[in-house]
Amino acid sequence: MPLLEVDHLRVTLQTSRGAADALREVSFTLDRGQTLGLIGESGCGKSITALALMGLLPEGAQVAGSMRLDGRELSTLPEADWCRLRGRRIAMVFQEPMTALNPLHTIGRQIAEPLRLHLGLSAAAARAQALRLLERVQLPQAAQRLDAYPHQLSGGQRQRVVIAIALACGPDLLVADEPTTALDVTIQREVLDLIEQLVREDGMGLLLISHDLGVMADTVERVMVMYGGLVVERGPTDQVFERLAHPYTRGLFAARPRLGLRHARPGGGGDRRGVRLATIPGRVPELADLPRGCPFAERCAVVVDDCRAGLPPAVAVGPGHDARCLRVGVPLPAVDAAA
């Protein structure tokens, strides 16, 4: 039995324009020691997936389908049971280390809180354990820092504290939602290396959410590309990045600035004048406007009428690699720079 099994998950949110599906047909499994990434732009359903797994969906959200942790159904779990689960079996690292910590409490107290709550440790034992955790996330001068407040730490140090809190009770599943987006590039690398190392040592399952394709390539074994609440492509990271089977995945890659881009372009010759990034026309649809068919149809260069008829089925394009696209294998028009 896999650690986490998500099957045909559908999440419906109440928006100002009526009920709208934020997630559709999301299915995946994640086992201990495995790493899975979620890629996509804002509004594609990455964070809603994370919140669903944490039982933290907004008020009025409806969940259909199933999410099972070690075989236990989560989608119907009462809030009291969620409280026992959250922070103990499933833990989350949030994007903003500035706002994820309580500015009024010392970091020692914040790390000790789940230990006392979930594991019933005494104040002294929790404090000793908090120190060990701070050392484990390699916070310099950990012993002196136990009584420090969040504002006395830098962004990278705060994110280490957030990770220490997440790890406190030895969770089986770690959900990290853009854990390094607010950090400098060198700090980002350190924090990602730390998460990778801890996941490996503890044999946790890692669900990493990021819009940064490079971060994904470095960190996770498998990725799922999301668009309009749908997993449009998934597979082993290197296969997905090599094949780029879905037009959206391809568009994401083409739009990304890359070092040496203007030298690589034919006629670029190192002169940046006239060198433009390829763009995906249009923008991410609002949830309430999602069409019945493929959500990417309106922006797709190779769309045909059938794409709008209904959700495209997942087509296998390689071992463990599939794409929800009727046009897999159809060559895209040369990705020209937008004027």
Binding site: A217, P257, V275
Partner: protein, 284 residues
Amino acid sequence: MTAPLLGVENVSKRYRLPRERLLAAPPEVQALDGVSFTLQAGRSLGVVGESGSGKSTLARLVMALEAPTSGQVRLEGEDLHALPPAELRRRRSALQMVFQDPYGSLDPRRTVLQTVAEPLAVLLGAGRAEQRERAAEVLDAVGLRAADLAKYPHEFSGGQRQRIAIARALVTRPKLIVADEPVSALDVSVQAQVLNLMQSLQDRFGVTYLFISHDLAVVDLVCDEVIVLSEGRIVEQGDPGALFTRPQHPYTQRLLAAVPGMKPRVRGSPALAQNLPQRPSQPT
């Protein structure tokens, strides 16, 4: 020879930190230390470095929002910080800024027209009709419609808001636009649209950019020159192509090595190498 559009000469800035003890002198931090560079009209200069390296301090000094502790910031040869206040005020229309967060940099209670036309009224004393006309003109230039003038920021997406912020910066027909992480808060596909827009506006109007970013690939794409700041000093400067291919300073090498997608696992896969950024060949 005409003076460069922007000349920064040996600029230093020290900030006084809050007092830690009652009787001790307050500690100081050296945010910039002897920074010099020039920027010719119509070109783009990238400034890269980590948080705390002095990037934003440099932006504030160039925008004449703060005075340097020592050194000079010259706009077309004139020392901005030596100008009388009334004169400086007149010069401000030549300097505009685009901020990182398009959600925080637009007033939610003001329409696009009020936001975009405000610099015209404040800096140039333009009348209503002229304000409206020029605001519509710049909105068109950034790919929005004149009908959007009556709308409020919340009616726009992040990318559109950043277009509004760019329109506000363009409306006074500035010579220099300081862009402080203008695309860091945007999604990949939106980021590409905004970067392309900034480049075509430069081709059309000849604006000069001081482009601050922690993203080396973005700077490589849009800038003619780049300076690398570390702890308030320029540690390396030059053409981005050369600088990012053969970084000389250890700090630049460290920045480059940390760019995601450059780990050995990825580098080893030949297929991936086509899609992900190449690691520039390092000097041995």
